[in-house]
């Protein structure tokens, strides 16, 4: 199994990091174009390695297999000869089905987004910096997915947070971009604090960071006990896994920590594309999948995962219906799709079975959806960027009638919308169908219903976007409408996996992507009506969207909006969550927590410092005053010294 490419898998990490350094220090300032080509070339090398590893790995796959590409000791927190046990954080690359899949997806999307950015960023004066930071982001994400242990993952996890901060706030002269980047960073950091607490709690009891070790049954037995953890005596397994999951909760922007994600649209569109398709936001899903064997032994954690995911899927889809900003629609759709991936993991625990057996379908379906979603969501963002580039507005009501002017974009968008809408035989159909099936098999009826309904809702809001943007009359004077080749190429390339990727990959995911744990294989029901129902939900969403928005008359739509009245306003304003958080931070936290601390800092801490400074200066003045220049004085002081010695010695 070990090949040249697995032992040299470090190349995949080296390449983006090299680009970051070279572009950041040298190329970026001289020629952004050179920086861009260098980035594309290096990321292509990384992609080539990832593909080679994937082919080698999946060509003779058997269950529960993994390779450690390489691993070295990094930090030794405790060593056996002193404390009696070892606690070592390694650095390495773990190659197993999900990490290899992510390596391929992330490198592929990095290459395509870099190509796209050549067109998108060509008028930006700081494009060189962009190509440096984008590679830093790719590096962080690649390091995150290939970590061999949870400590290494945390380091890269924070690097992802930091580099996303830099990218979202890329246009730092825009106040909205600055506040969006701060919001993303602070919200995810808030969640990461729990993640770190979880790492500490779990590693304290298991004395290991390694994923392979953590996922063993013995670890579960070690953790499944009651112990005092800071705030009370609790089950370590439940609290530890929940704390770790909290990190993913924030990164994957699950309700109620979803607020950073729509604002993150303030970054350049290629950034949104890479963050929202396969990188930052799926980190939480990936973490849950990575530790799935551990998580699955805690029923409470699994329920939280399932219900948080399902609720976010519904909640975000409802908001997406009312939004007018093309990137915000896509952002809420991302939230909704992430919800799918998450509850798919959660429903792997079957409630119908006594003791709760694991249905590996939920796990593989989730990973499958990560894969297909990466393709079509990345593509949708690239399309949005293309359209914004032409229209110079994010508002879909400023667009319209772009079908004729941008034929490639139009067709690609149709494919992507069909894929995300879950229409047979496009990619999204296969993965979403499996997710819904898994929730039905698991006995989670409510979640099953939500999944089915949100499927229809997804098709509706996506085709609303599609019709309003591309059909009808153009609502704005447009000049030089053209499709930049650099920007069109990645879109067209991504259309292929969005269209047929699901059909061809479904068997691979079904067989190779099973959690690394002992499974009891059950023959589960596979109702034949389900694909029909799911597709018809999607189709009815499309028909409704056509009815409301496809005929260039929006009277019905606005009358319904009017009829809904306050409810529509509430949804359009995203249930006022941003306002709620603003109230909590500005009115409550700032006033009752920050203000007293500020007072203490200004008055007490600074006061003590100032007093110290004053006293020292006074002392200095005394010393200078005594230094009179008179020898008599000097000599008499010496006598004092002699007396001091006499006093001390006798």
């Amino acid at each position: 199994m070990e090949t040249f490419f697995t032992t040299n898998s470090w190349v995949i990490l080296l390449m983006p990091f090299l680009v970051f350094l070279v572009n950041g220090l040298f190329l970026g300032k001289r020629s952004w174009r050179a920086a861009a080509y260098f980035a594309v070339a290096c990321m292509s090398v990384a992609f080539f390695f990832a593909i080679k590893i994937a082919i080698g790995f999946f060509s003779h796959v058997h269950e529960h297999s993994y390779i450690k590409g390489w691993e070295i000791e990094w930090l030794r927190f405790a060593s056996a000869d002193i404390l009696g046990f070892d606690l070592v954080a390694n650095v390495g690359m773990l190659l197993d089905p999900i990490s290899i899949m992510m390596l391929v997806v992330v490198t592929a999307i990095s290459v395509l987004v870099n190509i796209y950015s050549i067109g998108y960023m060509k008028e930006d004066p700081s494009a060189g910096r962009f190509f440096s930071l984008l590679s830093l982001f790719s590096f962080s994400m690649l390091g995150l997915v290939s970590s061999t242990n949870i400590f290494q993952m945390f380091v890269f996890w924070e690097l992802v947070g930091a580099s996303s901060y830099l990218l979202i706030g890329f246009w730092y002269h825009k106040p909205s971009a600055v506040s969006a980047s701060k919001k993303a960073f602070i919200v995810t950091r808030f969640a990461d604090a729990f993640f770190l607490a979880g790492i500490i709690a779990v590693s304290y009891f298991t004395q290991t960071f390694d994923f392979i070790e953590l996922n063993k049954l013995a670890t579960v037995e070690t953790l499944n006990r009651y112990a005092f953890l800071g705030f009370g005596t609790v089950n370590v397994l439940t609290v530890g896994t929940l704390l770790i999951f909290a990190g993913g909760w924030g990164k994957s922007a699950m309700f109620p920590l979803h607020i950073w994600l729509p604002d993150a649209m303030e970054g350049p569109t290629p950034v949104s594309s890479i963050i929202h398709s396969a990188t930052m936001v799926v980190a939480g899903i990936y973490l849950t999948a990575r530790l799935f064997p551990l998580f699955s032994h805690s029923p409470l954690t699994m329920d939280v995962v399932a219900y948080v995911g399902a609720f976010t899927a519904l909640f975000a889809a409802v908001i997406a219906v009312t939004q007018n900003d093309i990137k915000r629609i896509l952002a809420f759709s991302t939230l909704s799709q992430l919800g799918y991936m998450l509850f798919s993991l959660g429903v792997s625990k079957m409630v119908v079975e006594e003791g709760g057996a694991i249905n590996s379908l939920g796990y593989s379906a989730s990973m499958f959806h990560v894969f297909t979603h990466a393709a079509f969501k990345c593509m949708l963002f690239l399309i949005a960027g293309q359209v914004i580039h032409v229209v110079h507005s994010n508002n879909i009501w400023d667009m319209g009638g772009l079908r004729k002017k941008m034929p490639f974009t139009y067709v690609s968008c149709l494919i992507a919308c069909l894929a995300i809408g879950g229409i047979w035989p496009f990619a999204g159909f296969w993965s979403k169908d499996e997710i819904i099936l898994a929730s039905l098999q698991g006995g989670h009826t409510v979640i099953f219903a939500i999944g089915l309904f949100v499927g229809g809702l997804t098709a509706f809001y996506m085709f609303r976007l599609f019709f309003v943007t591309f059909h009808g009359e153009s609502r704005k004077e447009l000049h030089h409408v053209h499709e930049d080749p650099f920007m069109t190429f990645p879109i067209v390339v991504l259309a292929i996996p969005s269209a047929v990727g699901g059909y061809f990959a479904k068997d691979l995911f079904h067989h190779a992507f099973v959690p690394n744990m002992p499974l009891h294989i059950h023959e589960l029901s596979h109702p034949h009506w389900l694909p029909w129902v799911a597709t018809s939900m999607g189709l009815s969403g499309i028909i409704l969207a056509y009815f409301f928005f496809g005929r260039n008359k929006f009277t019905q739509a606005s009358s319904i909006a009017k009829a809904m009245g306050p409810l529509h306003t509430v949804i359009e304003n995203k249930f006022y969550f941003d306002e709620f958080y603003l109230f909590m931070t500005h009115k409550v936290a700032f006033r009752f927590v920050a203000a007293p601390i500020k007072w203490f800092d200004r008055k007490i801490v600074d006061g003590v410092m100032n007093l110290t400074g004053f006293l020292l200066h006074a002392g200095g003045a005394i010393v200078r005053f005594l230094q009179t220049g008179q020898v008599q004085m000097y000599l008499s002081v010496m006598i004092l010294g002699l007396l001091y010695f006499c006093y001390r010695v006798f």
Binding site: L616, H617, G619, G620, A621, I622, V623, R624, L626, Q627, G629, V631, M633, Y634, L635, V637, M638, L640, G641, L642, Y644, F645, C646, R648, V649, F650
Partner: protein, 475 residues
């Protein structure tokens, strides 16, 4: 076995050589020849010292001892002498500096070398007469050197104060010795040691010791015997100030260490704690005094008073680390202080040696300004520079004896010192010069010395082997 004392014997020969070159050779650039000959000679002595075996003991005529500890001290003296000569060269060249030209080069160099010879005698002495003669030999030339700008009134005033107070100190030392002789009946260290072992509480002997330590405190500029230091440092020519602040101070420390770890070892604990208390007061007074100075040499005086306080604090621990940590710190202190004095000499070429003259340095010579920052941070004890490692070991030595209160006090003092070291950096980087600056002239000798010393400041801190070698030799 005479090789052990060859370096010591070469010193007076070198001094005489320099004087005779001045007498017999006529040349336009005699100044350069004199300084270069002297520097080459001292370099030879340094090489000889480093090549001697540091793990053997040798007695010359029974009362002149050479061993690893003494060789290390002699290396410190010789290296400071070397850099003082190089530093002096810049002040003796034709255009001189702001205070005038340093004349009578051969005498200047010879006095410095005799001074160093006296210091060599102080560390090697095994009986009190040699010790006294060495001490005087190390001190009397300094009086002349301080007054080297003969026409400068303040220079003469400073030298006068130095002579008056120095004479009192010599009197105190002699008084102390005579008490000791009265108690012991012999001047040799072995005799004193055996006497102290049997009579640790002899009041006459202790009274003598008080006088001797008072004298040492004067040499070290410990509070309250420090009052002479700012005046003398300011009065003396800058190379002499540098030599005073490094070599003279090291001599006094060598004196204390050879006594406390030699004949007075049995009653060491009686003196280390009072010295530790004085050390803490000293660093405080030094730090407070340095806070609002405008004259660079006076500033260095207060800074070195504070540094002496840190160094003496290590003695309080009474442990294995005390002596190695002090010697290690002296090497670092030597490199940092001389580096700073070289920078001062470059700046003081055309301007007064004042804070204000540093203005615009960062623009005019970024490298020099960077080195200034490095040196000041090293003196303030910021990691990873040598000063941090050195200070850490000093404090660790005091903590070894359990004197945590004193260590905390010293650490706080070290924080205060950062304030005034930063003031210099502020002058170099932030404050704008009032008028257009003349360009800085930097000679090859100066840049060479600054390069070597900077390297030492950085490397001594980063590489731990140096301190372990010292520990091996001394411990």
């Amino acid at each position: 076995m005479l090789t052990f004392v060859t370096p010591d014997m070469l010193l007076p020969i070198l001094a005489l050589l320099v004087l005779s070159i001045d007498l017999f050779i006529e040349s336009k650039n005699k100044t350069a020849i004199l300084f270069d000959t002297a520097a080459a000679g001292v370099l030879l002595i340094i090489v000889l010292l480093f090549n001697l075996p540091h793990d053997q003991e040798f007695y010359y005529l029974t009362n002149y001892k050479v061993d690893g500890l003494r060789l290390l001290f002699k290396e410190i003296f010789a290296i400071s002498l070397f850099f003082t000569i190089l530093l002096g060269k810049g002040y003796a060249r034709k255009n001189g500096n702001w205070r005038g030209i340093l004349k009578y080069d051969s005498e200047f160099i010879a006095l410095l070398i005799f001074c160093a010879f006296g210091m060599f005698c102080v560390v090697s002495a095994q009986e009190l007469i040699t010790l006294f003669i060495g001490l005087e030999l190390a001190t009397i030339p300094m009086y002349f050197l301080t007054a080297y700008y003969k026409k400068d009134q303040s220079s003469l005033e400073g030298a006068m104060k130095y002579i008056i107070m120095g004479s009192l100190t010599s009197a105190l030392v002699l008084l102390g010795y005579s008490f000791w002789y009265g108690a012991v009946g012999c001047l040799r260290y072995e005799a004193i040691l055996s006497f102290v072992q049997t009579n640790p509480d002899n009041p006459m002997f202790l009274a003598g010791a008080i006088f001797v330590f008072a004298a040492v405190c004067f040499k070290l500029a410990m509070v309250p015997f420090h009052m002479w230091a700012p005046d003398v440092y300011q009065a003396a020519p800058t190379p002499v100030t540098a030599f005073l602040s490094v070599a003279s101070k090291s001599t006094a420390i060598a004196f204390v260490i050879t006594l406390l770890y030699g004949p007075l070892a049995p009653i060491r604990h009686v003196f280390t704690y009072p010295l530790g208390i004085l050390a803490c007061i000293t660093m405080t007074v030094g730090n407070l005094g340095a806070m609002r100075q405008y004259e660079l040499r006076r500033f260095m005086a207060y800074s070195s008073i504070a540094q002496a306080g840190y160094i003496m604090l290590a003695l309080v621990g009474n442990g294995k680390m005390a002596v190695p940590s002090i010697i290690y710190y002296l090497f670092i202190y030597l490199a940092t202080n001389f580096c700073l004095f070289f920078i001062i000499s470059v700046i003081g070429q055309k301007r007064p040696e004042e804070f204000a003259s540093l203005r615009g340095l960062a623009k005019q010579s970024p490298a020099l300004a960077g080195i200034l920052v490095l040196c000041l941070f090293s003196l303030a004890g910021i990691p990873p520079l040598a000063g941090f490692t050195g200070k850490f070991m000093l404090f660790a030595s005091a903590a070894e004896g359990g004197f945590y209160g004193l260590v905390i006090f010293a650490a706080l003092n070290s924080t205060v010192s950062l304030y005034y070291y930063l003031l210099l950096i502020k002058e170099a980087y932030i404050n704008k010069p009032e008028e257009d600056l003349e360009s800085l002239e930097i000679t090859f000798t100066q840049s060479f010395s600054i390069a070597i010393l900077t390297l030492a400041v950085v490397i001594l801190g980063l590489i731990p082997w140096f301190s372990s070698i010292i520990t091996k030799i001394v411990g």
